[in-house]
């Protein structure tokens, strides 16, 4: 199978299977597919920085969590009828996804500019560690700051709304997530083949040469980092709505590690890699988790196997193209 065929069949399965589950009246499987779509979206975000730009960010949980918390905070203010800011004019919270998403992405983008500017001064291990440190900082801050639930997290009593749709119905919420994933995948594929995307990939391979041609590395890397963060934040916002709950766990370094796992299991730098990885992850969780309580042991084993022996990831295995072009 060529990589294109693998990608298309995966996408078809993601769109069709939930409808089958919906038709068979199995909402559990619809929500599993929704999780796949959301986690894949988070992975697509990280893949842009990690796979294309070679920036090993071990702190993308920061953006995932920020997206979630923006959603949770806005919704809780709206549902409790407390203004977000009171002063000259009162600014209320909101339960409209169309307002929440851009705000979540905007906040994450600001955080990413700040984190990126400081982190991109370093490279190698130091970059991994400083991105981890930023995420940990936000994690501990969210635990010890009691206003929005602290360690207990913050419930979202009613899933936020989307004009014309009933988001509480699993299949409708799934379609929202799936559509966003498709749009993002399309956008990232356009970006990958643009001048910007080429420069970014060239930077991963040889920074000095790119600088010699006259392209400033920092600008390109920072832009990619910020776009990557906003995509992950959008996924975080959807994830909060899916669970109707946000907690500091979204910021934890395990979350960063898991987002990285989606990217790697599927195949680093491949457009549909995160989708394959997230599907495999959720499948493992659902199948192994039903069979044994200790399913993460086998997830670890699988990940170890992929890292040691199958560097092209799942898509590399299926398409018989082990090396990433």
């Amino acid at each position: 199978m060529s990589e294109k065929l693998v990608n298309r069949s995966m996408m078809a399965a993601l769109i069709l299977l939930p409808w089958l589950a919906h038709w068979l009246d199995e909402p559990y499987y619809v929500s599993l597919a929704t999780r796949v779509a959301i986690l894949a979206l988070a992975g697509v975000g990280l893949n842009l920085a990690l796979g294309l730009g070679g920036m090993i960010s071990f702190g993308h949980a920061a953006f995932f969590g920020l997206g979630g918390y923006v959603t949770g905070i806005l919704a809780s203010h709206a549902l409790n009828y407390e203004p977000l800011f009171s002063g000259f004019i009162d600014i209320p919270g909101t339960t409209q996804m169309l307002i929440i998403w851009p705000l979540a992405m905007f906040i994450a983008a600001i955080a990413a500019v700040f984190i990126g500017l400081l982190s991109l001064r370093t490279s190698g291990v130091y970059f991994i560690m400083i991105t981890l440190a930023f995420a940990q900082m936000i994690y501990y801050f969210s635990i010890s700051w009691p206003t929005y639930g602290g360690e207990d997290g913050l419930p979202i009593y009613i899933r936020n709304g989307f004009p014309g749709l009933n988001t509480l119905q699993p299949i409708q919420f799934f379609m929202i997530c799936c559509t966003l994933l498709l749009i993002t995948l399309w956008g990232v594929s356009r970006l990958k083949n643009s001048r910007f995307g080429n420069a970014l990939q060239a930077l991963r391979q040889n920074e000095t040469r790119v600088a010699a041609i006259g392209i400033s590395p920092l600008g390109i890397k920072l832009t990619a980092f910020v776009i990557s963060a906003t995509i992950t934040a959008l996924a975080g916002s959807l994830f909060a709505d899916l669970n109707r709950f946000v907690s500091p766990t979204m910021f934890s370094w395990h979350t960063s590690g898991e987002i990285m796992i989606f990217v790697i299991l599927g195949g680093l730098g491949r457009l549909y890699g995160p989708l394959a990885g997230a599907s495999l992850f959720i499948l493992c969780e659902a199948l192994l988790g039903g069979w044994t309580e200790y399913w993460q042991f086998f997830l670890g084993l699988l990940l170890l196997g992929v890292v040691l022996f199958a560097r092209g990831g799942l898509i590399g295995l299926l398409s018989g193209e082990p090396k990433n072009a």
């Binding site: 400081l118 130091y126 440190a133 940990q136 990285m260 200790y294 993460q296 670890g300 040691l308």
Partner: protein, 306 residues
């Protein structure tokens, strides 16, 4: 400010710093010599604590438990090095991060499977119960003092091992130039296994010592691991001296920050706000410190190579 309380906080900071040094020494050696990021170091810490708790409960001897923590962690370390790490030395950092992340998942689940999800409690010998009178000015926990002394002795031991013995010379040579050292006829893969086992033993030992203050449970290694990484990065990756100084700085800043930041903020802010803000700031103080240091010295305080 209460001077006695301050001294006590300083000793607590010292104790945390020494424990972090035991973790960080292994991490920084493994990175310096083999160029490997080992996230699974926290799992070795956990394995040491579990081994100590299991053996101490079974035999009734704490000393035997400590010995078991050293042996088990070293054995687990050697096993991991031979089984997995060897394949990773030539890989990039991303592969190392992922493979060792996978090891964390596997170790944690294996421990949960062996010992269950409930925390184990580790009792210290009666000699260490209660407090000891230090110079007639302050009462300090005997066990914590014991940890500080034992940790300091271990730190001196590592220093002597690295700087005065033949093995230490080989380790330093390996860190400076791997290929040249191998060309001189030194069995480099044996040396790597040795360094890894040594780092693992230190981590396991730290886990056993701290396990008696806190509880022994799955996942106990992860917060410590991240602190140890902060230490290593602050100190300069690969530098033992940097690890020692970084560990002491982090231990002090963290302990004193938690103790005094809320009070300091009360001088300028409303008490309720000062308390929450102080607690929140104290919990992120060391990360702020690390970020500041990396901005001004991107290679850490004591860069190992040049």
């Amino acid at each position: 400010m209460d001077v006695i309380l301050f001294l006590e906080q300083c000793l607590n900071g010292l104790q945390l710093g020494i424990m972090l040094f035991l973790m960080a020494a292994g991490l920084t050696l493994i990175f310096g010599v083999m160029g490997l990021i080992n996230l699974a170091h926290g799992s070795l810490y956990m394995i040491g604590a579990f081994a100590c708790a299991a053996v101490a409960t079974w035999s009734g001897s704490f000393a035997l438990g400590l010995l078991a923590s050293l042996v088990c962690a070293a054995a687990a370390g050697a096993l991991i090095e031979v089984g997995v790490m060897r394949r990773l030395y030539q890989r990039d950092h991303l592969d190392q991060v992922l493979a060792t992340f996978a090891l964390i998942l596997m170790c944690s689940e294996a421990m949960r499977w062996l010992f269950g999800s409930f925390p184990l409690y580790l009792d210290v010998p009666e000699v260490f119960y209660g407090a000891i009178d230090l110079f007639g000015v302050l009462q300090y926990s005997r066990y914590r003092l014991f940890i500080i002394v034992l940790g300091l002795l271990t730190a001196v031991g590592i220093y002597l091992l690295i700087s005065k013995t033949r093995v230490g010379m080989r380790i330093r040579a390996g860190a400076a130039d791997r290929q040249m050292t191998a060309a001189l006829g030194i069995n480099i893969s044996l040396l790597f296994t040795l360094v890894f086992a040594l780092g693992a033993a230190l981590a396991g030992f730290a886990g056993a010592l701290v396990g008696s203050i806190q509880s022994v449970e799955v996942g106990m290694g992860e917060p410590v691991l991240i602190l140890a990484f902060v230490v290593v990065v602050i100190g300069g990756i690969g530098s033992i001296r940097g690890a020692l100084i970084g560990a002491l700085i982090v231990g002090m800043v963290d302990t004193l920050g938690r103790g005094y930041l809320p009070q300091l903020l009360q001088l300028v802010l409303d008490p309720a706000v000062a308390n929450t803000l102080g607690a929140a700031l104290a919990s992120i103080a060391i990360y702020l410190l690390m970020i500041l240091i990396l901005i001004f010295k991107p290679q850490g305080l004591f860069p190992a190579h040049g």
